[in-house]
């Protein structure tokens, strides 16, 4: 892994501030008032504070590149709620039998046309800064659901087009991170545009894709000269191997085969153990909504008089109503059935559909569950009981 550029930590914010003039930047921000670390827009958080006068020591927002965000960055591409279109019935008293509907959508013709494969960066220029390899992998998984296949989602595609990922590898993973067990790697920069490693007092760029070379070249004043690279180069391999060692010492899911787990999950479907290990579950949506690959949504039409909207909003399979059929029958009326479906969706069904396990091992569901459910423990226990 050869270092191509290096930026000192104290210059990072200035670089971002300069870039923020031409891009919307999303980055992981620690909100000290709410005590949560989440992806926020630069202009709504750090950028806003910088533009104000006053005491810089009492800042509410601070960049936090070493910790994992509470929610995943999926809300950037798939927001919790959006209007698909608005409609209005236009009535003409002279011609009462004719139905005219005015349709308004946030998409333009360009968005729904078929040449959405352009490599150029869209005018909606977006940088996702500080995103970890697991989250980028999750975006690629979501791409399979929203972009490939028979139904291409123009709303998602519009938001996704031209996004630049500047990734920072995980030199210090949490105990509940398990990306390696599901085919990931804390320094996997395959899908990142820029990949950085934290070394000493700054960040070393070890991956730089051609289409964003200018992001560094044109802002050269923030980056260090090449003759300093040697002292950092020797440390990179050690940092990466230490991180991998740390993340591989998990107690669960130590020997799953990614290619074969869907077979074993299928065999385990009717085991009684599902009822026992999901007893804690209160079937809320906390794990679903923080997960970077849970993509389910519900669509609704709301109309008042002649005007209305069709919206979609995040839905969660742990919901009692998720599978309730129009007949009144509910095939997943019990919590254990719904949790079994969730685990299978991640490790079995999506593998069959898209060729990948959809769980990326970020561990957010484990952190956020109020009753201590650990999906690694569940899958491990089930597989051991076959």
């Amino acid at each position: 892994m050869k270092i191509s550029h290096f930026i000192k930590e104290k210059k990072l914010e200035s670089w971002l501030e300069k870039i923020s003039k031409g891009f919307i930047i999303y980055l992981p921000v620690q909100d000290k008032k709410r005590n949560i670390i989440d992806f926020m827009k630069w202009e709504n958080s750090i950028g806003e504070e910088k533009s104000k006068e006053g005491n810089k020591n009492n800042n509410r927002y601070e960049i936090n590149l070493s910790e994992k965000t509470k929610k995943s960055p999926k809300h950037i591409f798939s927001p919790p709620t959006e209007n698909l279109f608005e409609f209005e019935y236009k009535k003409d008293i002279e011609k009462p039998d004719i139905v005219n509907i005015d349709l308004k959508t946030p998409l333009s013709i360009k968005d729904i046309s078929n040449d959405s494969n352009k490599k150029e960066i869209d005018s909606d220029r977006k940088i996702i800064f500080g995103i970890k390899p697991c989250d980028i992998l999750a975006v690629k998984r979501m791409d399979k659901f929203f972009k490939k296949g028979d139904y291409k989602d123009p709303y998602y595609i519009k938001r996704r087009k031209g996004s630049i990922f500047i990734s920072i590898g995980c030199d210090n993973p949490y105990p509940d991170c398990f990306c390696k067990l599901v085919g990931g790697h804390p320094f996997n920069f395959e899908y990142a545009d820029i990949g950085m490693v934290k070394v000493d007092d700054g960040y070393a760029v070890i991956k730089l894709s051609d289409r964003v070379k200018w992001l560094i070249k044109e802002y050269n004043e923030f980056f260090e000269k090449e003759d300093l690279f040697d002292k950092y180069q020797d440390k990179i391999d050690e940092i990466i191997s230490n991180s991998v060692k740390k993340i591989s010492t998990s107690n669960y899911l130590s020997d799953i085969s990614i290619e074969k787990i869907h077979f074993t999950m299928e065999k385990a479907f009717n085991l009684d153990i599902w009822k026992e290990i999901t007893r804690n579950c209160i079937s809320c949506a906390a794990c679903t909504y923080v997960c970077p690959t849970c993509f389910c949504f519900s669509i609704g039409d709301e109309q008042r008089d002649l005007k209305g909207e069709r919206y979609r909003a995040w839905d969660y399979c742990m919901n009692y109503y998720y599978n309730l059929e129009a007949s009144g029958h509910n095939p997943r009326a019990n919590i254990y059935q719904r949790y079994r479906n969730k685990a299978n969706c991640k490790y079995n069904y999506n593998f069959k559909r898209y060729g990948n396990i959809f769980c990326v091992g970020c561990g957010r569901c484990i952190e956020v569950c109020p009753v201590g459910i650990d999906i690694r423990e569940v899958v491990d226990t089930v597989l051991k009981n076959i």
Binding site: Q30, C284, G300, E302, Y311, N319, P370
Partner: protein
């Protein structure tokens, strides 16, 4: 015998008459515990009880009573017993279905308070000693005074060694010794604000709500979560959008549904992934209920919640001075 051993001994003696016992067991995440459901004697060794047991196991009382035949034993702190009493007073479960295994409590640590102190950083490991907690995050080490990080409700608790109702009671080794605080101090700060400022305060909080329903689902008294009016298709009372307006609407429904029933166990605030101070809302509503009806939920099986019953004449409400 040590407290935990006495507890396990007691369970061993009574488990044959019970279909199921709900207790606490250890969790790999630091400073946390999780529920365990045991049916046989050989699982009893996994039960623990210590000052990390903040969860309210009464959450499972109603759903278990529907799913399982026979008696269900639940290990409950005295504050959690109040949830069971409220369920009993509303006749949502019958007395003979539940074996209340009350344990004397010496206070529980609120891990979310600690997370707040370290500004939301992840707790990688923690060591609890007699008077201190040592917290390790990725980059820093913190040494905190244990006494400052108990759950808020512990600071004004007066039933920690005196549960209102029980079938079995295991006395604690240690006395609760935290400096007592005023119960409504945090509410007073909001009450001082004008109506507009209060509204803005709650708008700012609910901006972050993702309508995950963790608050509703973990509440022992929200027995209607599978038939909730906010999620019904027919009739379609509420939009399923996840926006500030809809989240506020859902929360208002929840708060009024619990008015005069909530025993302030604090689980809703603990479960919220977005750190919204939900308990403040419930405390304010309960304060008003107490003022208007002289009623405290969760203390007496015979007394009925005022909003579920009516009197022809309400003693404390003069029609000319409703507010």
């Amino acid at each position: 015998m040590k407290f935990e051993d006495r507890l396990k001994e007691k369970i061993k003696n009574i488990i044959d008459d019970l279909k199921l016992v709900v207790g606490y067991t250890s969790n790999k995440l630091p400073l946390r515990v999780k529920p365990i459901f045991i049916e046989n004697k050989d699982e009893i060794e996994n039960i623990i009880f210590n000052n990390l047991c903040i969860n309210n196991l009464a959450t499972y009382a109603y759903s278990l009573s529907q799913e399982v035949d026979g008696k269900i034993g639940i290990i409950l702190k005295p504050c959690d017993v109040k949830s069971i009493i409220q369920l009993l007073s509303e006749e949502l479960i019958s007395r003979e279905r539940i074996k209340i295994i009350a344990v004397g409590c010496s206070g529980v640590i609120d891990y979310k308070k600690i997370q707040k102190e370290i500004k939301g950083s992840k707790i990688i490991s923690a060591t609890v000693e007699h008077e201190n907690i040592e917290i390790n995050t990725l980059n820093k080490r913190f040494n905190l005074k244990l006494m400052d990080f108990y759950a808020d409700k512990c600071y004004w608790c007066d039933i920690y060694d005196n549960p209102p109702v029980y079938d079995e009671y295991i006395e604690s080794d240690v006395k609760l010794s935290v400096k007592s605080k005023s119960k409504y101090e945090d509410i007073n700060n909001i009450e001082k604000l004008s109506l507009e400022e209060t509204f803005l305060f709650w708008e700012k909080e609910f901006n972050h709500c993702i309508r995950c329903y963790a608050c509703r689902n973990i509440c022992p008294l929200e027995v209607c979560k599978d038939r909730c009016i906010t999620q019904l298709d027919e009739p379609y009372w509420q939009s399923q959008r996840i926006t500030l307006k809809e989240c506020k609407f859902f929360q208002l429904i929840r708060v009024f549904h619990l008015a005069g029933r909530c025993v302030e166990c604090g689980e809703c605030e603990r479960a919220c992934p977005m750190n919204i101070p939900l308990l403040k809302l419930m405390k304010k509503v309960n304060k008003e209920i107490e003022r208007l009806f002289d009623y405290k939920p969760g203390l007496n099986i015979e007394s009925k919640p005022p909003l579920l019953t009516f009197e022809k004449i309400e003693e404390r409400i003069k029609e000319e001075e409703l507010i």
